[in-house]
Symmetry: C2
Subunit: 459 residues, 2 copies
Amino acid sequence: MSYARDADGVRTAKRGGGGLVTALRPLVSHHDVTWIASAISDEDRSLAGAAVDELGRDGAPYRLRLVAHEEHAYRSFYDVVANPMLWFVHHSLWNLPYTPNLDRAFDAAWTDGYAEVNAGFAAAVIAELEVAPDAAVFFHDYHLYLAPRLVREQCPDATLMHFVHVPWPQPDYWGVCPERVRRAIHEGLTANDLIGFQTDRWRRNFVYSAREFLGEDVTPKTVVAPISVDTSEFEELARSEQVLAAERGIVSHRPDKLIVRVDRTDPSKNIVRGFRAFELYLEAHPEMIERIGMLALLNPSRQEVPEYAEYLRVIEREAKRVNDRFREGGWAPIDLQVDDDFPKSVAAYKQFDVLLVNAIFDGMNLVAKEAPLVNERNGVVVLSENAGAHAELADWAVSVNPFDVAGQAAALEEALKLPEAERRRRLESIREHVREHDVGDWIELQLAALDRVAARVPR
Amino acid sequence: MSYARDADGVRTAKRGGGGLVTALRPLVSHHDVTWIASAISDEDRSLAGAAVDELGRDGAPYRLRLVAHEEHAYRSFYDVVANPMLWFVHHSLWNLPYTPNLDRAFDAAWTDGYAEVNAGFAAAVIAELEVAPDAAVFFHDYHLYLAPRLVREQCPDATLMHFVHVPWPQPDYWGVCPERVRRAIHEGLTANDLIGFQTDRWRRNFVYSAREFLGEDVTPKTVVAPISVDTSEFEELARSEQVLAAERGIVSHRPDKLIVRVDRTDPSKNIVRGFRAFELYLEAHPEMIERIGMLALLNPSRQEVPEYAEYLRVIEREAKRVNDRFREGGWAPIDLQVDDDFPKSVAAYKQFDVLLVNAIFDGMNLVAKEAPLVNERNGVVVLSENAGAHAELADWAVSVNPFDVAGQAAALEEALKLPEAERRRRLESIREHVREHDVGDWIELQLAALDRVAARVPR
């Protein structure tokens, strides 16, 4: 939720569209919730401090408390430390011979930005806990690693939980952060009563790194709770007029076989190798020229970060190179569309024969759950072994190593060759799994684990 | 040892100068040894097959068996798989959003190159074991991961040991290799009776990844044996006329305080960040302009690999940038010398006030042991926490995180400010440690561990 003033000076509200906002909706619907968030706009800042009454999309009431940060501190927090530094550590994206270069500016951004903004959040949480001392506090993701410890120091009896949406690296990769930084992160997180992860793989990595940096006797309480989809909302969306209109557009142009990928233009998504894999496939299958296409719907992401701007340039260059190599008549192999058009993405979900999810590392990857849910062509999912979704869906997907371009080309071929009955069986199995483990499940798993932990903690 | 023909057609022999050849000398001196190595030159190839009698530098006799490989197979083995692929995996040097791209050429190089050359070595070992069935076989490093298993299959009772000179990455980084590659590597290594590592950190990482890829019930026998220096030979070398002449050259030009680094131009050595750290130091200490210098003696390395050629270009560019920024009269802060001049390196070892070893990852780093041994200025070692030598020398060094440029600048300052008595105490402690744990120790630790393991293995 972000606020502005319109031309007449009336306050307007815009709901955030991020996956997290959507995923947390069931929590808001069924509990008495105060959402604590950063004040972004000037109007946000004017409201900061007191809690505001709001209504969720489904009409459930909640309170919103906006935290104002000093502008420079917030930019350092967000643009220097959280993205790219921590995001790149979580997804193993650094080019270690050259990057990162942790200079005095990083030191300052850590102390005056990340630590400062975390302190601001902690103060807001502490103020809420004074009003509602029995409330459970839920921290989310890599932006708020220091806040839990600050809250714990003031409120030793508070119930604190943190959910980590991103992959957790193994201790040697955490070594990219200087000792004081990696220690502060692990000390901050372990101040929670419970820490949630998308998969057991990320959970085990966390326990391993916590012991490495804090000592072998550290025993953090953890839970695996894979994030998922609001399936009924999603199926409804797939029938909406906006999606149907976009789908007609795709159907009118689609080749016989359609490979789809839907991603942010993030270096972790492995878009360039995906194009190269498709190139290798076409090299080996000239009979598929003009009969197959890859539709890449890419949402431009964080273009103010140089690594992201560069990555988008390479994406465009590689798509052009592959298209120039194989172009034939009006046909080109890759249809690259860089914009933010969610209805079109859902339409593409319905139309894929193969969905390519080859992420370098990914906490979960919701595309791998959303797209099969609404697909209408018995489409096959080609899925990276480094995506969190792989832990749940591997049995019904074609697995790929994200660095093995030849392997990805072979996987595309395998997926396209699977008999119709087998394709249907796999798609229905994924669908069934996602319906049985939807986003409500994600919340319930966390709440149940928190109950178990709270029962064990003497207050 | 490599052979050629001189102008008169007489066979000439050139001893390899690598660290491994030197380090293994004590083994050769005290045991009945057959050295099995690749035939590199045409003359080598003409000798391949039968063992040749040779004398070590100290007069100890040994036999040499050269293994001829098909030229293309050898180039694939060496230039595609071993360097760069495996070297880059071992040292975490890949830029994962872009590299590696494992294409069909890599698949072929793995099968027809790496596996083929390993099979050639295994056949040579098996032939030797037919003559001397009680001999112990010592495999070295990342070039020969597949050979032990091939030998084991033919010679189930053979005594096989492997020493891994490089850092062992944690399992998630091994994920850069496709499943069949990482499995073959771990299966090959665990066919040995004993596997040696430089530090407990690399050893634990290996046990962890072996269990991850081969199953929790895998229990490889391992030993930690840090490689070291032939101290008496090294001290003698330091007094040699060649080194004294080089030292006079350095002394005649040296500034008041001298920072020295001696490295191959390998991306793992972190040379660029070292220059930037020195830049930050000068920025904060203008009073040291014209009074301090960094002497960077860099041995050009693997220039046929594009990443290495690019790294050397960046090294040269960064040195020039820092020099242009601070140049004053005839003085410039960085004296960059790119050549292969070992006597000059030893002379620089004697002359440093600060030795900078800031490697990104390094199995051991022998410079950190060699240089203090002969230093004559109570010089201080600034040492990366990711160098194997850190496990032994941390108490007497100034530790740095290799990615923390500001931290490295602070470490240079700290090292330069240490009181003379403290500098002497630290240097003498390192010297004592290296003398007590010299290269003979390295061999003895392995042989003793092998005896213990052999006693436990029923034949």
